[in-house]
Symmetry: C3
């Protein structure tokens, strides 16, 4: 796979400070033809799961060869390594803390590289801002066509976050709550592909404090007001919602909660 | 008119989520040379008038051929159609709900097309995110030089919002309050062109709960502190303000209020 | 020096309104190949020191020839002049109010021009929005390769803000507090180059209401929890911090405060 000129940025830096722009300056200094797109810089600070969801939501809509940089990095300054993941459709650059795994696995990971070569970082690496000093220059050199094998040795293991793991048994899927949006809609880490059932069937959904039977519908409007429903959201993940209500509050569910989903046999 | 490579985005999606970036990914996938400029993504949610003002304020400052995409869409998922408006200076793409009309009419509407061809949308159109699945790809195909007649049939009627309409009588203009800014300045939908009077004259301005005689000045500083004034703002609309005070609070005026403006005869 | 195609924007306009986008439209209309990068638009309103710090922080990371536009302009509409500063590494455009001086001086100022030629401004200059009507077009013409001598006469004097001045005596540096960040870390206007001492030594730091002896370390983690420390931050300025604590609150220090720094003789 050859990198395109498109690079995306996902961070928890916010836009009030100059940090994000410094990364862009570094990228343009190394690759003047780079096309830089912000995914979001308002990831909840240090919240890897929240950042992972943003990357997994957005990456499918970018063209082949896009380089995705993700920086939500509670461990900056410690010994975790910078990684490059090459997938069937693009590249992911970030700390080895699980942030990029969901997005990368959805595209099919082809190779993993631990970046060790100092020649692809800024000459002075600060202790506190690896986004600018390490990850931005790596991205720009990838955009310039440097192969991932030039950056360092292959790595076979990497941090795999719990929220990227789905357990499949004969009759159920075990996942977790990835995100609760502003409306209280519950977004799970179970994708359309994992679920593999037709619209219209009934699902049995078990939260820690609730057990529900829900119709898998196409849009909120198909349920009565305040009635619970399941749907595949616009990012292709299973979502549990109340039509015009707050599902998370109602079902006492929060991010990180385990959920068990199975097809409902009875239809009563 | 030929589309340039510049496309602007005006939405109420905010920048906390990945939505806006997904639109950009789709656009760059179809038109890799697109130059994407954000107008704002902080339109008040579902507030078509607020979005319309943002588009009308910004569009005049973009070069000929710019493609403007506006998405403030309380009716997403219902039967309202996607429209393309071609003007003397550019293109406007968005839902048929009035959002684009002020901005487009100021440029002179030349042709209107109802988009029906599925070939210019994403292959899978979600029920909830037409910005990404319908409007972004249409914009990118326009940037690629596809003529508007390729997207669907001409349409003669479209939703025309009240805030785009000025009634003119012999001696007065009837309009409405388009926007109250953070300082309480009252921006009307009456443009410099509509008003057509020289700086320095006195205007009679009638709000629902107040009737004022105001000097049409060039800048806030020409009135005494806390004194009311009228001026043509930097977006070429008539604005009623208090120098260093809050006009909207003082005159009990709010967005959507009807206003009647006439030239004042007496100067006492 | 020749301008590159990169232009950065630093303003206090926020992103809720269309203002920033209007500047971008104007720039692209004059220089269609411009690459526009936002530093930040969330400078505290009318706070020149805050804006100056953002520009000084970001500018070093942009390539040679970058054009930096800064607009934090309490005096818009008054007689202060638009300036262009040419440095060894780039260009700075903004009002003559001190905003750009720190960033420009760090690069070495080569020439200063007072912009008087109306041919490089929009044909209609509003009283309230010089960012769009004056500074954006100047920037775009610079990107197009117009030499700074074309814009107006050289100017030898300009407003030099106190926060850009360091007094050096035989054994001490007198500066001021430039910025207090969200964590209460105290960033001074004393740069790494001014300080010119090795990591590991002890510094005597005098705030108006406190006198401290601090170890100059490499990262927060080298001090005990709640213990004060000095370090060179990621923007190369001297920073006084408490490891996991709020230094500004603890030392009753605020932006603008005078500080005196000297090397500590005793090490007790």
């Amino acid at each position: 796979l050859t990198a395109s000129k498109i690079v995306t940025l996902t961070t928890d830096f916010g836009l009030k400070d100059a940090y994000v722009s410094e990364m862009k300056g570094v990228i343009l200094g190394i690759c003047p033809t780079a096309i830089i797109v912000d995914i979001t810089h308002d990831v909840r600070q240090f919240d890897i799961r929240n950042g992972a969801y943003m990357m997994a939501a957005a990456a499918p809509y970018f063209p082949n060869g896009t380089v995705h940089v993700g920086i939500v990095d509670p461990g900056v300054g410690t010994e975790r390594h910078p990684l490059i993941l090459e997938t069937k459709r693009g590249f992911f650059i970030g700390p080895d803390n699980g942030l990029m795994i969901m997005a990368a696995e959805a595209q099919g990971i082809e190779a993993v590289c631990r970046v060790t070569s100092r020649s692809y970082m800024l000459s002075h690496v600060s202790g506190t801002f690896h986004g600018r000093d390490i990850f931005a220059p790596i991205a720009a050199h990838l955009l310039n066509g440097i192969g991932i094998e030039e950056f360092g040795p292959p790595q076979t293991e990497f941090v795999k976050p719990t929220f990227s793991i789905i357990e499949k048994t004969n009759d159920s899927l075990v996942g977790e709550i990835l995100h609760v949006d502003n409306f209280g809609n519950i977004i799970t880490n179970i994708s359309y592909r994992d679920l593999n059932t037709p619209i219209g069937i009934f699902l049995q959904v078990k939260f820690p404090r609730r057990n529900l039977k829900l119709n898998l519908v196409k849009s909120y409007g198909e349920a009565k007001v305040k009635e619970p429903l399941a749907l595949i959201n616009s990012h292709n993940y299973l979502e549990i919602a109340l039509n015009q209500g707050n599902a998370a509050a109602n079902f006492e569910a929060k991010e990180g909660d385990r959920i068990v989903v199975s097809q409902s046999i009875s239809t009563t």
